[in-house]
Each structure stands twice: as C-alpha cells, then as structure tokens.
C-alpha cells in the first residue's frame, strides 16, 4: 500500500555519534553548486549547497558514525557544526535515516 514504504519512525534526534545513511527512496543529483536531493516518498526536494556536504552525504553509509564521515571528507571536529546542522535538517525531513529504519 501507498505510504507503508515510507519510513515513519518517530523523528529520531540527530545524534552524530550514530550511523546515518540516505533513505533508500532518496536520489542525489550532482549540480555545479553541490547537489539536489529528492525524496520519492515524501516528494520533498532539498539542496546541498557545496561539494563537501555532498561528499559527506554520499559517504555516510561507509562510516560507523557521522563525525567520522565528516573527518574523512576533511572537516575536522572544530569545523563540523554547520555540517552537522545541515545533516540534522536532512534527518528531520527523513532524507537521512538511522538504525533499522
């Protein structure tokens, strides 16, 4: 049925110490400014406004937690705040999921 494929777990607080990944219904389209994200389930569009955040988003699944994904993209802990904020917004809109979701 329509809707059941869309994960509707309670909006988990965004904890960068956890493993997060892109929702399986989200497509990432590279653009000169960064990337467009589209969620086929919620039909929401988001924008990633630089290449570094795109790299982080695309590599989330390869890392045990968000902070290490950031570090691997060259963002050291002191500089992570805006990135974690952006990722938190994506988590809120269900573009990113964690755990068994």
């Amino acid at each position: 049925m329509r809707g059941l494929l869309t994960v509707s777990s309670p909006a988990a607080a965004f904890d960068p110490a956890l493993h997060w990944r892109l929702h399986h219904q989200v497509a990432v389209r590279p653009e000169p400014f960064g990337a467009l994200l589209y969620h086929f389930g919620t039909r929401k569009l988001s924008f990633l406004k630089n290449r570094t955040i795109v790299e982080v988003v695309n590599s989330l699944d390869d890392h045990p937690d968000v902070r290490s994904a950031c570090r691997a993209a060259g963002i050291d802990d002191a500089q992570q705040a805006p990135y974690l904020h952006a990722l938190g917004v994506l988590a809120q809109s269900k573009m990113l999921v964690t755990g068994e979701a």
């Binding site: 869309t6 389209r29 653009e31 000169p32 467009l36 086929f40 039909r43 924008f47 990135y83 917004v89």
Partner: protein, 389 residues
C-alpha cells in the same frame, strides 16, 4: 532547505540554469473530453503527430539518465491515451516519479485502487470552482461532478494526499476557504495556481483574471492560511505586496532554467504557459534528443543569461517579483522587459491601457476551430459524439 554559509544565493544558481530540469511538464496529448475556456494548451483534438509509445519511453529513458526526478504529466486529458498507464508504470520503474493532472474522467474505483498501490504516482484533480456553478462555467457542464467522483474514488481506495488543483479566477477567489474544506474532506492537498493568458486563456483572461483588490485578497489569504497549500511557485508576481519571503517558495521564473514543457509531438517549450513559437526551444525528435535541447537550445541559453529589468529597473520591488511572469506579459501583448500585467505596484494596469497587439496563438487544437470540415447544425446529443476520446 539545507543551508551552509559560504555559497551564492540558490536563486542566482537557478537563474543560470541547471544541467537538467528539476521537474518538467509533459503534455502527453492534446486530446481532451473537456473544452475549458482557459485551457493553456488550447486542447481538444489529438494531434496526428503525437509521440508513439516507443518514442515516449525513449524520452523517459533520457529523463532517467538526466536524473529528472519527476514529471508533471498533463494534456489535454492524459488518461485518454490508451498507453497512459503503461507509460506511468514505465516512468516510475525508471526512477522518474509521476504527478499527473486529470479532470477525473478515467479515475474509476479500479483505477483509484491501482493508484493507491503505487508509491511513486501522485494525482492532481483539476477543479476551478468549489461549487458546480462556478466550476462548470469555466470547465464545462458536468465537470464538477466528474472531479468530485474521482476524489471520492481516490479517498475510498485509500489513496493518500491527492491534489486538488485550482486556477484562481475572479469568480472563485472568494471560495478559497471552501476549496480548503473540500480538500480536507477528501484527504487531499489544495494547490492553487495563477490564471495565465496562455492558449485559450488569452481569450478569457480579461474577464477572468482576479482584480487588483482580489490580488491583495489572494496574497493575504496565502500569507494567513497558505501553510500546506501548494502554489507551484506561481504567485511570485505578488511578492512585492509584503515582506520578502512571506510567500513560500523560490519565487523565481524557472522557464528554461529549472523547468520546461514537452508537448505531445515532442516540441520543447520554455514553460507550460508558453506554448508559442516565440518560446519553442526545439523538438526532441528532430533536434537530437531532450538532453541536447535542454543544454544547447539558443532560446534556453538566452533565458539563462542575466535578464534586463527594463522599465522595472527603477522599482524597489524588482528584487522580489523579478518583473513577474514572462508568459503573462507576452500573451497580453506587453514588453517582456516591463511590468507584469498584474503588477501589484499598479504598473500593469496602465500598460494594458496602451495600444498593444496580443500575439496570435501559433498552436491551436480546439475542437471548434474556425475551419470545420463539417458543421453540426445542432449541438451534439452527447458529449462523446463530438469527442475525440
């Protein structure tokens, strides 16, 4: 929206155009069972050169390669194409989401069940009055009932969040609350868009477009109650009425930059409201595919250059409305680098008073055209007697 500090404004990025549209409108057929007085595409009769199923699938393959996330399918009445459901299934199987606009004629209980089972298809039912009286005056006798039946079938099948799509006119602008109630009744989302003087709309725009007072009323309604109401970003000409950002959306003209239109014969136009030779970028069949037209058409390249504010350059509100809608200006015979005919600062009205020549439609599929092979001496007994469907 996700934002990080050191970047140019997104609007500026978009004005320079993207490598592929974010979404596009695809009119699958000019055939229609209705003959709405304001039809943007002057639909009625099927065009004999209509794209074949195979050609449509090739286009979908190309859209998938370009990562166009979804298409807004319209017409005409798209569901009257015998291969309509086949094309919808093909698109969604190829990661191109579908939202289609319909007057409801084919949304039977069975079809509604089928739609409810898909995660990638969105349905938009057109309705231009919250009552049969107001709606049918524009869309034709029986069209209100047809749309409501479709909404009932969708709700009963468990389809969530259909869209009710309303073109705001002088006669329905007072019904916005009623439309919202109607949407709630069917578990649907209200979508309201601007009346454009395009297609047959050019003939009725003077009588149907909201008055200056109604534009303010509409703006106030959107600011007060517009949360959760979709607008297709179509009211950006109103943004000068209040604080920047009071209206949701990007509020820019995306024509040829982030959106475009594919018509039933594969012609590509800058936007759905601009079916005219002036805004024809090319043809998918004769110009080597959609990707090529999108990236290289001289018209699209021109639209992605910085645009002149012209007569609007001294207006303090130019940054919010960007001169308004190109198609609305063109089809009312106003210069493209001047005010929108519905300019909220009042510059449109005097411009409309000037001597102006409204461009003739270069494409017309209306069923009652000036050249008829045989003239009926009395009205057809039933709608379908005159219908191409």
């Amino acid at each position: 929206m996700t934002s990080l500090a050191p970047v140019p404004r997104l609007v500026e990025q978009f004005e320079r155009g993207l490598d592929a549209p974010i979404c596009l409108t695809w009119e699958l057929t000019y055939a229609c069972n209705l003959a709405c007085v304001h039809c943007l595409s002057s639909s009625g009769k099927r065009d004999p050169r209509e794209l074949t199923t195979r050609q449509c699938k090739d286009i979908i393959d190309e859209l998938e390669r370009m990562q166009v996330f979804y298409v807004n399918i319209g017409g005409g009445e798209p569901t009257v194409r015998p291969d309509f459901w086949e094309l919808v299934d093909y698109a969604t199987a190829h990661h191109v989401g579908v939202k289609f606009s319909t007057n409801g004629v084919r949304i039977t209980p069975d079809v509604a069940k089928r739609l409810a089972a898909s995660d990638y298809v969105d349905v938009q039912i057109s309705l231009d009055g919250a009552t049969a009286e107001v709606n049918d005056a524009v869309r034709g006798a029986g069209s209100f009932r047809m749309a409501i039946r479709a909404l009932e079938n969708l709700r009963d099948a468990g389809f969530k969040d259909a869209k009710i799509s309303v073109v705001v006119t002088r006669h329905n602008v007072d019904q916005l609350d009623e439309f919202a109630t109607l949407a709630a009744r069917y578990g649907a989302t209200l979508r309201i868009t601007r009346l454009r003087p395009s297609g047959r709309g050019a003939d009725v725009w003077d009588e149907l477009h909201p008055t200056a007072e109604q534009q303010v009323q509409l703006y106030d309604w959107l600011v007060a109650k517009g949360d959760g109401v979709l607008t297709g970003d179509s009211f950006f000409h109103l943004s000068g009425l209040g604080e920047p950002g009071a209206l949701a959306g990007l509020n820019l003209c995306g024509a040829g930059r982030v959106v475009c239109l594919i018509d039933p014969v594969g012609d590509v136009y800058a936007c759905p409201f601009a079916i005219h030779d002036r805004f024809l970028a090319g043809n998918i069949l004769s110009d080597n595919g959609f990707d090529n037209v999108w990236k290289n058409a001289p018209l699209f390249r021109e639209l992605r250059e910085p645009q002149s504010a012209g007569a609007c350059s001294s207006c303090a509100h130019y940054d919010s409305c960007r001169g308004g809608c190109m198609a609305a200006k063109f089809f009312t015979g106003l210069p493209l680098d001047g005010p929108d005919p519905e300019c909220v600062q009042g510059y449109g009205a005097p411009a409309l008073e000037q001597e102006r020549v409204k461009p003739k439609s270069s494409v017309d599929h209306s069923r009652s055209g000036p050249v008829a092979l045989k003239l009926l001496t009395k009205p057809p007994a039933r709608l379908c007697n005159e219908s191409p469907v």
